[in-house]
Amino acid sequence: MGNVTQSKRQLAWVFDLNKCIGCQTCSVACKVLWPGEDPGTESMWWMTVNTQPGRGMPRDWETMGGGYYADGRPKLGRRPTDNEIGGGWEFNHDEVQSGGRGRDAHLHAISGNPSWGMNWDEDEGGGQYPNSYYFYLPRLCAHCTRPACVEACPHDAIFKREDDGLVLINETLCRGDGSCIEACPYKKIDFNALRGVSQKCIGCFPRIDLGVAPACVRQCPGRAAFVGFLDDENSAVHKLVRRWNVALPLHPEFGVEPNVYYVPPLAPSPLRADGSVDETGERIPPAYLESLFGPAVHGALATLKAELDKRPRGEASQLLDTLILYHWKDALGHLDRDPAEIIWSREPDKGDLR
C-alpha cells in the first residue's frame, strides 16, 4: 500500500455555488483538453457539474463508500458500474443523413448507457413547487491531503506532488486493479478498460507547471472558480477558506481532507402556503446543506449573509469584493499566465514540440 508524502504547499480550488450557473464549461474544457474521446475515454469526465439534490455522477456516488471512518480506519468502498457512470454515446449520423431512409431513421444513441450520463438529472432538484430548490455542484478530484487512493494502491502508482500537493496517477506503474477507485469516496477516478489503467483529473499539471491556471478555473464564465495555494495570503483561495471560513469541503466526514472547497448556496426566500413571501424562511433545508458540507455550513452562510447586509448600507466588505472579483485574474492566484504567450519550438529533426 502506498504512503502519502505530505506536500510542502497545497494547491486548492474554491467554487462559489452562488455564482456557478451549471453551464458545464469547466466539464467540457477539461473533457476536450484531457480525456477527449480517445478509445476508452468516451464516457470519461474528470470534471462534472451536477444538480443538487440529485443522484450525481456516478449515479448515487455518495453511497458507494471509500475514504476513512472517524477513527482513521479505511472505509470499504465499491467501484461504480458502467451503468452508474452512463454516457459514452455514439450516434447514427450516417444512417440519418445519408442512409436513404428519410424519416424512418432518427438520430439517437447507438452505444453507451441509455439511462444515465454525466448530467442526467440536470435541473430536477427537490422540494415542492413553488418551493422547489436546487443548485449546481462542480466536482473534480479533490487532490486530498489524506488521499485514500494513494494509500489503497498496491503498486505505489499514485503520489502526491511535493510542491503543490496534486495527487497524480503514474499510469506507467498503474496495473488497473481499481483499488483506488474503491477507496476514493468522491468516485472521481475513472477506469480505462481499453488501456487497463485508472485515470483521473491531473490537476492540469502541464499548465500549472508553466504558470497557467487549470482549464476548469480559467475557462469558468460564471467566474465562480478560484485556484491558488492555501497558504498564499494574497490568493482568493486563502481568503475564502482560511480567513473568512466561507468555503467548505464537501462531505468532510469522508475523512480524506479534500482540497476542493465550496461557498455554500443561498436561495430565494420561500413562499408560505398562501403564496406570500417568507423572508426569514429557508428554501434549501439547512439539514440538507449540512449533510453535504457539515455543520460548518451554518456559520459560513451566516458570515455571507452578514456581509451581504452590509453592502446596501454602503459599508465595505472585503469578502464580497473577493467574490465579486473585480479583476478576473485575482481568481487565479499565482497561476495567472496567459497560455497564448507560450511559444513551443519544433525540433528540426524530430518535429516534436518542446
Binding site: N18, K19, I21, G22, C23, Q24, T25, V32, L33, G87, W89, H93, S98, G100, R101, D104, H106, L107, H108, A109, G112, S115, G117, M118, D123, E124, G125, Y129, P130, S132, Y133, Y134, N170, E171, T172, F205, P206, R207, D209, L210, R218, Q219, P221, G222, P268, S269, G275, S276, L308, I324, L325, Y326, W328, K329, D338, I342, R346, D352, L353, R354
Partner: protein, 931 residues
C-alpha cells in the same frame, strides 16, 4: 512572449518526468495560435477566443480573457465564453460535417446524395435562377434572412441577392426576435445596455427570461450585482436556473405577466410612488385625450390645416392648453397628469379632454393587487412589495424574446415598460428594460452600395450622408438622426434585409388559413383576420411588401446560415406541404447536414469557424468587434459563404451569356447587367477575397467613426478585439441613443434623459396611449392583460420555451460533446404532480399532442416546473425525434392581427422593427405516456 523553458518546470517529484506525464504534456502543445470567436446567433456572442492549432488542425480553443477594465469599480468581462465555445473544435470534425458539394440523388428528405463538382452544382443552380428570373423576375429568388454565420452570411453572402434584386427577407421577422411592445412604446427596441452595466442595478427583475442559460458568458454580472448589494428577483412560471441565484422567486401564471406589471403600476399610483417629473417629461401620459373620440387632441382638431402629429397638454403653470413640444424639452411647461379640461375645436365647439394619465388610472382600476392576484397567481402583498422596491431602487428589467413570441406579448412588454416609466427607470446606468442592440459594425453593409473600393469613396458617401442629415436637421431641429434614418430605412436604406416575410407566409406557405382560424385569434377581435389584411392593403400600409403573390411564387430558395425546417413556427409540416412543392430549386449552404439541408436539392459545403476570416454581428451587449480569424484551411472542398456566392455569381454571368439573357429588370425598374454581374459585384475583383472585403469593411467603419481611426484587419490580428467608439448609422444602433464612452458601461436612452431628444414615436415620447383606430377597436389603446387564445386547442397544459443551455439554434443539438452534457436526446420538463396524474415516470417517453400535431420526447419529471406547465427548450434538430416530428409542428405559427397596423407615426413597416411575427409561446397541449 516567453518560452516554456523560462517558467519553472516540474521541480517536485521526478515521477512527473515519466513518459505517462509527457503524454499529457504533449496534448497541451500547439504550433500556432490565432484569434477566434464563434460567429453564431448566440446573442450576445462576440467572445474573444484563442484558437490553438497543431499540424494544420485546430486542437482546441480557450477564452482569450484579455479584456481590460472599462469602468473603474465594475468587474471586467473576462473570461467571456461558454461550453459550446470550449468544444467548438470538436464540431469541425463532427459526424454531420459536409465537405463536398452534394446533389440530391433521391427524393427530397430521403438522405441519398451524389458528390458533384462545384462546376456541376453552380451550373444547375445558376440555370434555375435564370429560369426563375425569366418566369417572374429576380424577386422570385428568395434568400430568407438568417442569423447564423456572422458577417459572412448576414452581409457578404447577401450581396449577390441584393445586387440582383432578389428577395432578402427580414431576419428578425424570420426568427421572431422582435419586441413589439417595446416598439409600440419607444418606437424602437434598442434598449440594450452593455452587460457590465448590469452591475450597477440595485434591483434586477429577470422577467420572462432565463439569462443563466442564454447569457452564459455574462450572467456573472447578475450574481456580482447581488454581491454588490443589489437585489435580483426572477419572475417566471418555473423555478428556472436563473431563479436559483435570485433573492426572490415570483411564480407567475403563464401568460399573465401584464396583469402583474399593471398591478404594480396601480400600487405605484395608489401609494404616490410615481416619479411625476419623469413621467411628464419622458412619456405621453401628460398629453390630452378627447373623451368623445378617445383620440389625442391634435393640432388639426383645433386649427384649420393643422398637423395631425402635434399634440397638446394642459400646462399647470399657465393653466392653459398648450401644444406639446416635439422634443422632450418641456421648456418650462408642466403638463398636468390629472384633471378634466375643455378644449375648443376649430369649428368653435368645445370638447372635454383629459391627460392620458387619467385614462391610465382608470384602466388600472381593474388591477388592484387582490384582483390581479386572481389572474397572475402572485400574492397581493407580494405585488405591493415588488412595486415599492422598484420605486425605491435603480431597477432594470431583464427580459428576452419570450414576450415577443407570445400572443399578447406586446401587452406584456408595454406593461413592463410602464413599470419603469412610472419609476423613472431609464436613461441612466443600471436601469431600463432589455431589448435588442445591433449595429455599429456598419462597414460590411456598405459594400453592396459602393461604386468602387477604397476609403475615399466611403468618405465621400459618408460626407454626403452627413450633409443630407445636417440639412434635414436644420430644417426641423426637433428631428433626430435616428428618426431620419428610420424614415429612409422604411424606404429601403441601410438595412440587413428589407422585405417583410408576412405575405410569403400568407401567400405561399399556407398560413392564410391558419391566420383566419377564429380559434387562433383573440376572441375579442371584432372582425375576421382577412378583413384587417384587406384594410391594411387598401390603405397602402404594406405597399411594396405584398409579395410573393399566389400567381408569382418564389421559385429558388437559398438557405444560408439557417434551418427553416427546424425554426418555422407552425413547423416543417407547413413548409413541406405548401412551400416545398412550389420551389424549383432549394440550395443549402452549411457546414453540417441540418434537416433543411436534407430536404434540399443541393448542399454546398461552407468553411467552419476557424476556417475562414469572419466577424459576428456586433451588439451593444458586448460593445466589441471581435475577430474570427482563419486558423486552418477549410476541410474538403468547403469554401466561405462569400466565396460560394461568388462562384454562383460567376456561373450566373456565364450561363446568362450562353442563354443570351444579358440583363434582368428589378422590381423597381432598374436594370441589372448579368454578363458583367460578377465584376460588378466584386468591384472588378477588388473585393473578391474574404480578407480584402473584410479589411475594407473594417476600414470603412473606422472612417464612419464606429471604430478607432487606423483600425484594420491587420491591427485586429494583433489585438483580437477592439471596443466600438460610436453607434454608427444603423437605425437599430442609433436607437440606443447614448454616447459611447471609453471609460463607462453603456446605458441606453441617455440622449432622452440628458439631451431631451425625442423618441421616434408618433408623439415623440414614450407612448403608452396608442390611438390608432385598430388599437381603440381592440381596447388596447393602453396596456392591459388579455388572455391569449388557446393555440393548439383546448388542452390542459401550456408549453413555455426558451434557449437551451447546451445549444445555439439547433446546431449543437446533434453534436456529440454537447449531447453528452444532457441526456443525449431532447427532454421536456413536466411537473411531478402532472406526471404522477398521468402515470408518467422520469425518463419515460411521452407523447405531446394538440389539435395541430403530435410528437414523442423523453420526460424530465421535476418539481421545478409549474403545475400545468411543460418546459420545452427550443433548438433541437427535427431529425432527433421519431419521424422527425418536433415541437414546431404543434406551434400554430399565429400572428397577432394588430401588428399589421400602419399609417400611424411609428406604426408602419420598418425593417427589423414593426411587422407581424409568428408566435410560439403559450401553446396548449396534453401529454400521455408514449406507447
Amino acid at each position: 512572449m516567453s518560452r516554456p523553458q523560462d517558467a519553472a518546470r516540474d521541480t517536485s517529484s521526478n515521477l512527473t518526468s515519466d513518459a505517462w506525464a509527457d503524454t499529457y504534456r504533449d496534448k497541451w502543445k500547439w504550433d500556432k495560435v490565432t484569434w477566434g470567436t464563434h460567429c453564431v446567433d448566440c446573442y450576445p456572442a462576440n467572445c474573444p477566443y484563442r484558437v490553438f492549432v497543431r499540424d494544420g488542425r485546430v486542437v482546441r480553443e480557450e477564452q482569450a480573457a484579455t479584456f481590460t477594465t472599462v469602468e473603474p469599480g465594475v468587474p471586467d468581462m473576462n473570461p467571456t465564453g461558454c461550453q459550446k465555445g470550449a468544444a467548438w473544435s470538436r464540431m469541425l470534425n463532427g459526424k454531420d460535417r459536409v465537405k463536398y458539394p452534394l446533389r440530391r440523388a433521391g427524393e427530397r428528405g430521403e438522405g441519398r446524395w451524389k458528390r458533384v463538382s462545384w462546376d456541376e452544382a453552380t451550373t444547375e443552380i445558376a440555370d434555375a435562377m435564370l429560369d426563375a428570373m425569366e418566369e417572374s423576375g429576380p424577386r422570385s429568388i428568395l434568400r430568407p434572412g438568417t442569423t447564423e454565420g456572422g458577417i459572412q452570411t448576414i452581409a457578404l453572402a447577401n450581396n449577390i441577392f441584393l445586387r440582383l434584386g432578389a428577395t432578402v427577407s427580414d431576419v428578425l421577422a424570420e426568427v421572431s426576435d422582435i419586441a413589439p411592445g417595446l416598439f409600440i412604446t419607444f418606437g424602437r427596441y434598442g434598449s440594450c445596455s452593455s452587460h457590465d452595466d448590469w452591475f450597477h442595478s440595485e434591483l434586477t427583475l429577470i422577467w420572462a427570461n432565463n439569462p443563466t442559460q442564454s447569457n452564459i458568458s455574462t450572467v456573472h454580472y447578475l450574481t456580482e450585482a447581488r454581491y454588490n448589494g443589489g437585489e435580483t428577483i426572477t419572475i417566471a412560471p418555473d423555478y428556472s436556473p436563473s431563479a436559483i441565484h435570485s433573492n426572490q422567486f415570483v411564480p407567475v401564471r403563464i401568460g399573465s405577466d401584464a396583469a402583474l406589471a399593471l398591478s404594480m403600476c396601480r400600487v405605484l399610483i395608489d401609494e404616490n410612488l410615481v416619479d411625476e417629473a419623469f413621467v411628464r417629461e419622458q412619456t405621453d401620459l401628460g398629453l390630452l385625450v378627447r373623451t368623445d373620440t378617445s383620440r389625442f387632441l391634435r393640432q388639426c382638431d383645433v386649427s384649420e390645416g393643422g398637423s395631425d402629429e402635434i399634440f397638446h397638454l394642459f400646462d399647470t403653470r399657465t393653466g392653459r392648453i398648450t401644444e406639446a413640444p416635439r422634443t422632450l424639452d418641456l421648456a418650462g411647461l408642466e403638463p398636468a397628469l390629472e384633471g378634466t379640461y375643455r378644449a375648443t375645436l376649430k369649428d368653435g365647439s368645445a370638447v372635454e379632454v383629459v391627460p392620458a394619465f387619467v385614462r391610465l388610472r382608470r384602466r388600472l382600476e381593474a388591477y388592484a393587487p387582490e384582483d390581479a392576484s386572481v389572474i397572475c397567481g402572485v400574492h397581493p402583498e407580494h405585488i405591493r412589495q415588488l412595486a415599492r422596491k422598484v420605486a425605491r431602487k435603480r431597477t432594470r428589467i431583464i427580459t428576452g424574446w419570450t414576450t415577443g413570441k407570445s400572443y399578447h406579448g406586446d401587452l406584456m412588454e408595454r406593461s413592463m415598460c410602464l413599470v419603469i416609466a412610472l419609476t423613472g427607470n431609464w436613461g441612466k446606468k443600471g436601469c431600463g428594460i432589455r431589448g435588442i442592440g445591433a449595429g455599429m459594425f456598419d462597414g460590411p453593409y456598405l459594400q453592396s452600395m459602393k461604386p468602387q473600393a477604397g476609403q475615399q469613396v466611403t468618405e465621400f458617401m459618408f460626407l454626403a450622408e452627413e450633409e443630407r442629415i445636417r440639412e434635414a436637421l436644420a430644417k426641423d431641429p426637433t428631428l433626430t438622426r435616428e428618426i431620419l434614418m428610420a424614415q429612409s430605412s422604411s424606404e429601403g436604406g441601410l438595412t440587413l434585409g428589407a422585405s417583410s416575410p408576412f405575405f410569403f407566409w400568407y401567400n405561399q406557405c399556407g398560413y392564410r388559413e391558419v391566420f383566419n382560424n377564429p380559434s387562433h385569434n383573440d376572441p375579442l377581435m371584432k372582425r375576421p383576420f382577412d378583413d384587417y389584411v384587406k384594410e391594411a392593403l387598401e390603405k397602402g400600409w404594406w405597399k411594396g411588401q405584398e409579395h410573393p403573390t399566389v400567381e408569382h411564387p418564389h421559385r429558388v430558395f437559398f438557405n444560408i446560415g439557417g434551418n427553416p425546417l427546424r425554426m418555422q413556427r407552425g413547423g416543417q409540416r407547413m413548409l413541406l406541404e405548401h412551400l416545398w412543392p412550389t420551389l424549383h430549386m432549394i440550395v443549402t449552404l452549411d457546414f453540417r447536414l441540418s434537416t433543411t439541408a436534407l430536404y434540399s436539392d443541393f448542399v454546398l459545403p461552407v468553411a467552419q469557424h476557424h476556417e475562414k476570416t469572419n466577424f459576428d454581428y456586433s451588439v451593444h451587449d458586448m460593445m466589441n468587434l471581435v475577430l474570427a480569424d482563419k486558423a486552418v484551411e477549410p476541410q474538403g472542398e468547403s469554401l466561405s459563404e462569400y466565396q460560394v456566392t461568388l462562384l454562383i455569381a460567376r456561373k450566373l454571368s456565364q450561363r446568362a451569356v450562353a442563354r443570351g439573357m444579358l440583363e434582368v429588370k428589378k422590381d423597381d425598374g432598374q436594370i441589372v447587367r448579368l454578363d458583367t454581374f460578377y465584376e460588378d459585384l466584386t468591384l472588378n475583383g477588388a473585393l473578391a477575397e474574404d480578407d480584402a472585403i473584410l479589411d475594407e469593411a473594417v476600414r470603412d467603419s473606422a472612417v464612419m467613426g464606429t471604430l478607432p481611426p487606423g483600425t484594420t484587419l491587420a491591427s485586429l490580428r494583433e489585438t483580437g478585439w477592439v471596443r466600438f467608439t460610436g453607434l454608427g448609422a444603423a437605425v437599430t444602433s442609433l436607437a440606443e441613443a447614448s454616447d459611447v464612452r471609453p471609460d463607462e458601461t453603456f446605458a441606453p436612452f441617455r440622449w432622452q434623459t440628458e439631451k431631451k431628444e425625442p423618441f421616434p414615436t408618433l408623439t415623440r415620447r414614450a407612448q403608452f396611449y396608442i390611438d390608432h383606430e385598430w388599437f381603440l377597436e381592440a381596447g388596447e389603446e393602453l396596456p392591459m392583460h388579455k388572455e391569449a387564445p388557446a393555440l393548439g386547442g383546448n388542452h390542459p397544459l401550456v408549453v413555455t420555451s426558451g434557449h437551451p443551455r447546451a445549444g445555439v439554434n439547433g446546431m449543437h443539438s446533434t453534436d456529440r460533446t454537447m449531447m453528452a452534457t444532457g441526456r443525449g436526446k431532447p427532454v421536456a420538463h413536466i411537473n411531478d404532480g402532472d406526471a404522477a396524474a398521468r402515470g408518467i415516470e422520469n425518463g419515460q417517453d411521452i407523447r405531446i399532442f394538440n389539435d395541430d400535431a403530435a410528437m414523442v420526447i423523453q420526460a424530465r419529471v421535476t418539481p421545478t416546473a409549474r403545475p400545468g406547465q411543460v418546459v420545452l427548450y427550443s433548438g433541437f434538430e427535427p431529425y432527433l425525434f421519431p419521424e422527425w416530428k418536433d415541437f414546431a409542428n404543434l406551434e400554430t405559427g399565429m400572428v397577432k392581427w394588430l401588428h399589421l397596423a400602419g399609417g400611424y407615426g411609428h406604426l408602419r413597416y420598418r425593417p427589423l422593427l414593426w411587422q407581424p411575427v409568428p408566435i410560439d409561446r403559450g401553446v396548449h397541449v396534453e401529454v400521455e405516456k408514449a406507447c
